[in-house]
Subunit: 379 residues, 2 copies
């Protein structure tokens, strides 16, 4: 099988991730931070070390809380539902948001009554900073939530510039790094970001079952998930701790050990260069195929890893089925849990796109086979 | 190390759980149910098979939705926050509830304004059914939430009888089976239960990262966690599907494969007999030690697996430290995330209990070493 669904989850993972998880399962799979015995403390130290690796990866200092959760979806729920809003707030999201953001903002907006607006993009499917300045001046942003890399098109959004503009109005800035952390550099010293949500199992090459957020500016969030914290047990309120307050339930030490191993392996610059080279190679070849239309940003420098396309006159699902059954190639088809962007790229007559998600374990040979398969299908 | 913290999480797990997880990590670690390719479908089939094993375990029929989540804490949030309440509702909980229930009910009650009452217990720390009948007739129950086995004392609550009484008033009945599923038989054909929440990593001997609930009566719940579901992506509402609506985010197929293996191994009757024998052996011996006070139900038949005690004049945390450092025995000390029961058992002067959590991989030799250590400490 040629696996090109790395935008859904990267696969395979580095060998060290598998080894760490199996070892933890066998030797350290206890309830961390709650026990008063040796291996429970070792588990706690592993958690602390993993949090340090995450802070280091984005150049955050020791004061930045790192909250673990079982998935970035849950973290985005904790963030978006945990923020305080007035009825008159204006929440901006990019048109590239995933449903973990889009549906959650929608639900909260229905309850509170605030307005949700989309950041403007231009005809090249790129964020239009000038229009954003205009929109912000017209309707001041209270909160801006933005994905770093589109899970549909691979577009790398200019999040530093967006957040810079948002901060002119003291907006709270939330970054969804599901498709970027470990692939595209993030440096909080030069980015006006308040909270970064992250996924373990995507561009970090860690396992399922672990995500979280870095609370860079120490914003206070209401509790969204309540439960046992192994601390202050007699108190019916969640403890007032910048991490523990948001970490109800037993820590998944097995997944955390996998993430720890992944973080020790990940090399953002190398991974970017590798994926960029493969992506550009694919784009160069697929662009020559007739009947195929890709959805790329105007400036191809702002792009990495993911390419969506449609084949004229064919449902994308059917392309996926043929690639699977006839060529043993795994891609994803449809709308990719991103509700807004399809209004812009115009793929609805194909029932969504065929999405090629490239990872660091792919090769040019994989791309060659995909291209020759597409020549067969679309040619 | 002698591990006696099985009430926090069972450790070790059966070998088949480790093998399944490593194999899935290496061969099947993709985004199930969303891809249109072979191994994504295999992952989906593994999920369906695991749900079937869970239904079979409680004798539920095919119509009972099985919702997976990353932990029973999240599931209890989904259930308790997902139910509809009036301001005049009365929600009963047992005094044995864990903070996953206690804090969550507390938070929701503060928002809605309904009353939270505790089910009455007698001087023998057992549920008093006659008093419950009286309480229910005085203040009709809207919802009854009850743990099956106390994570502090090992008491097996008479949940069938409690729910039978609650159903006389058409109350919604929620069972927390974190400490019972796979250890104490649950048969929905003879229990008036609406929803059973379960944890993978405790009495089922599965991994961290997977829990969920069985919606036996098909009760409608509002969505608590929103996000991508791999379906109906253009819709900003969560899909109206009895399982998918509550399963936002990528399924943790690695943890599910571990749970699948655990469910294929688990033998409730055997595990109960084994744990009961070890527990009774420990109780028989610890009862003879002077200066130690246990907190057991009056009728020891209603008890399994967990024994809490205090040593006169000593903080429980210190006992835990000595057991760890001097004898390499892992127990848990403190309040065990259960806020109410300590008002009854009177362990606050010791800052909580020493809890011995027995598992199927323990032996009489483990108990003997613990007893001789306690003779040293308390003698």
């Amino acid at each position: 099988m040629i696996y090109l669904d790395n935008a859904a989850t990267t696969f395979p993972k580095p060998e060290s991730v598998y080894v760490a998880m199996d070892k933890t399962n066998r030797e350290l799979c206890v309830n961390a931070g709650r026990g008063s015995y040796r291996i429970a403390r070792e588990a706690s130290e592993l958690i602390a070390d993993t949090k340090k690796l995450l802070r280091d990866l984005v150049h955050a200092d020791i004061d930045s809380a790192v909250v673990f959760s079982p998935s970035i979806t849950i973290s985005l729920n904790q963030i978006i539902k945990g923020l305080s809003y007035t009825k008159n707030a204006v929440v901006y999201v990019s048109p590239y948001e995933h449903n973990a953001v889009a549906r959650t903002v929608h639900l909260v907006s229905q309850k509170i009554g605030f307005k949700v607006k989309q950041l403007p993009i231009n005809d090249g499917f790129e964020i239009d900073i000038d229009k954003i300045k205009y929109e912000f001046s017209k309707e001041k942003p209270s909160v801006v939530i933005c994905t770093h890399v589109s899970n549909v098109t691979g577009y790398v959004l200019p999040v530093s510039e967006i957040f810079h503009e948002a901060k002119q109005f003291n907006a709270i800035c939330i970054l969804d790094s599901a498709q970027s952390l470990g692939l595209v550099p993030i440096d909080v010293r030069s980015m006006a970001v308040d909270i970064i949500a992250f996924a373990g199992h995507k561009t970090l090459y860690g396992p399922f079952g672990i995500g979280g957020f870095l609370n860079i500016s120490g914003i206070s969030l209401g509790e969204v998930i309540t439960g046992g914290t192994g601390s202050d047990s007699l108190n019916l309120e969640m403890p007032d701790h910048p991490e523990g307050r948001y970490e109800a339930a037993s820590a998944n030490i097995v997944a955390i050990s996998g993430l720890n191993a992944a973080l020790k392996e990940v090399n953002t610059e190398e991974n970017f260069l590798k994926e960029k080279e493969l992506t550009d190679y694919f784009i160069g070849r697929v662009s020559k195929l007739k009947n195929i239309k890709t959805f790329l940003p105007e400036n191809i420098e702002n792009h990495v890893g993911i390419v969506s396309f449609v084949v004229n006159g064919m449902a994308s699902e059917d392309i996926g089925t043929i690639l699977d059954e006839d060529f043993d190639i795994a891609v994803r088809t449809g709308y990719h849990c991103a509700p807004f962007i399809h209004d812009y790229i115009g793929d609805k007559k194909n029932s969504g796109t065929v999405r090629v998600g490239i990872g660091i374990f792919n090769s040019k040979a994989d791309i060659d086979i995909l291209i020759s398969s597409l020549e067969d299908i679309a040619g």
